[in-house]
Symmetry: C2
Subunit: 326 residues, 2 copies
Amino acid sequence: MRVTIADVAREAGVSKTTVSRVLNTKGEVDITTAARVREVIASLGYVPSSGAVGLARGSSRTVGMLTPPLNWPWMGEVLQGVVDTVEAAGYGLLLFTCNRGAESVEHFTSQVSARAFDGLLLVEPENTLDTITAMHRKGLPVVLIDDRGHHPEFPSVATTNREGGASAARHLLAVGRTRPLVITGRRHFGCVRERLSGFLDVLPTGLVAEGDFTEASGRLAVERTLAAGTPFDSVFAHNDLSAVGALRALRAAGRTVPDDIAVVGFDDIPMAQHTEPPLTTVRQPMREMGETAARMLLAHLGGTPAPDEPVVLPTELIVRRSAPAS
Amino acid sequence: MRVTIADVAREAGVSKTTVSRVLNTKGEVDITTAARVREVIASLGYVPSSGAVGLARGSSRTVGMLTPPLNWPWMGEVLQGVVDTVEAAGYGLLLFTCNRGAESVEHFTSQVSARAFDGLLLVEPENTLDTITAMHRKGLPVVLIDDRGHHPEFPSVATTNREGGASAARHLLAVGRTRPLVITGRRHFGCVRERLSGFLDVLPTGLVAEGDFTEASGRLAVERTLAAGTPFDSVFAHNDLSAVGALRALRAAGRTVPDDIAVVGFDDIPMAQHTEPPLTTVRQPMREMGETAARMLLAHLGGTPAPDEPVVLPTELIVRRSAPAS
DNA sequence: CTGAAAGCGCTTACAG
DNA sequence: CTGAAAGCGCTTACAG
């Protein structure tokens, strides 16, 4: 049925060893022999069995990726960056999520041990970091995307959260806003702490509400601040989703954006272009982060030692109408 | 280094065959022997090598998935549905995209032939359908998600596009709209033709603009219709993105939604909840479609013959303020 | 109920 | 430059 290396060898009148050699361009092979073998390979439509190759070589040429829920608005970009890079290198991408709690972690763990993949890409591991750290110590190459400030012991790629926060503050200051309301994510995330302190360094404020990255939390923060009667002239939300919530609460309260209140978000998810008004936001280079992480992992698998400092990609302030330039 | 079945066998004082039997609960094994083997497996932390198992069994317990760009707004949901289902069955998911054109198709094709996966899930294949059809004929199990009306020769899961279009029309009619503008996607997509004819059956109109599922195309369609001076009291856009474009164009022209013009979209992407006003839309059950397709493929791999009729999941009209009920 | 042996399809020393 | 043989870690008839 299936065409094997033995079939090719027989048809070409050489040994399997020789076929293997031309397949992997390893060792010297007579140029005519090689040509003949190649011809047979083509005419038979032979493709090496990845399973057999993996078993013999002890590696699977596959990379694993463990992600948070895939419907998070920016996961698509990260994943696309990873897939493109991994595919271009001739590797496969095995996808796992930690959606189904303990059960899926178990499934994932067993796949790791089963050597189903050679290295692992990790996105914002909520509660699997310990497990992963253990695996990494046992020799599994790991690269982390967005460490949320946990600073683990393996290579990671992050973004300039502190500078991103600072750039938001500088922008608000430049357009004359001095009394901002800051809506954060959960404080235990390193990225949240960094965005906050970067912002506060430039534009100090006592008005800081802890949110949880949901639209509802953004809405709630604004509603409460309005109800308390505390004056503010701008909002810096730690992600776009909560900025969207802020926009709605402001509109519902009859406040005009940006005239009464300017709003700046963080992430630049696709939705940010389509809010009313469109959202000024600090862009995270999600796709580039995915690409970079994948390249680092592949390089590591190829023998290049991994950088021990996190690779940090720059954020970029995207100015739209919710906090215009002038 | 690595713990193998031989280590377990030695430690337990049995043959590899016996270990394999308790591993796969296949054949009769003495209950005490089995217990002892299980103990050794646990204490040694033995996990079968997926590569070796795959080679010996001739199957990889892995499913492939070929998708359009992953940053499409509803891909996350589909993917999540698939991953959950596949993981729960103990399978791995190997992800491919047809992003990089010919090159990635080639990479993908070679993975297929390499038997890197046992079956394939396919989402809206733009131009790979021929290749896939050929593979299917050669015995690769395939399930298609959202066939866009191409009606291929393999199993597929779709949604009620025609009824979805009809439900949009009924809703508009119920709220007193009689002069709709329809903004379609490209006409060669089956889903577009179905949505359109379902709509027109209920609410005929001559005002049909062909778009291409982008926000810009929705905006353009509205701008042109307004410029032409043709009166209309509502918009039915074939996807949410172009509905968003329509909303913006209407606002820019000073028309009020829904008072002047009611707007209905299709898809129910996350953004639909956050437009101004929030978008009434025909929801496609993306996650369920992913789950269903995965279940069908797994069942097929398990020996159950695949249904030869497409499995059709119902759409649902989600009423929001852009076209309210009363 | 249990085991020895062959085989899955490759790669890789080793020898020539 | 080339090949025979062992080995990667399993499963599966076959025999007992």
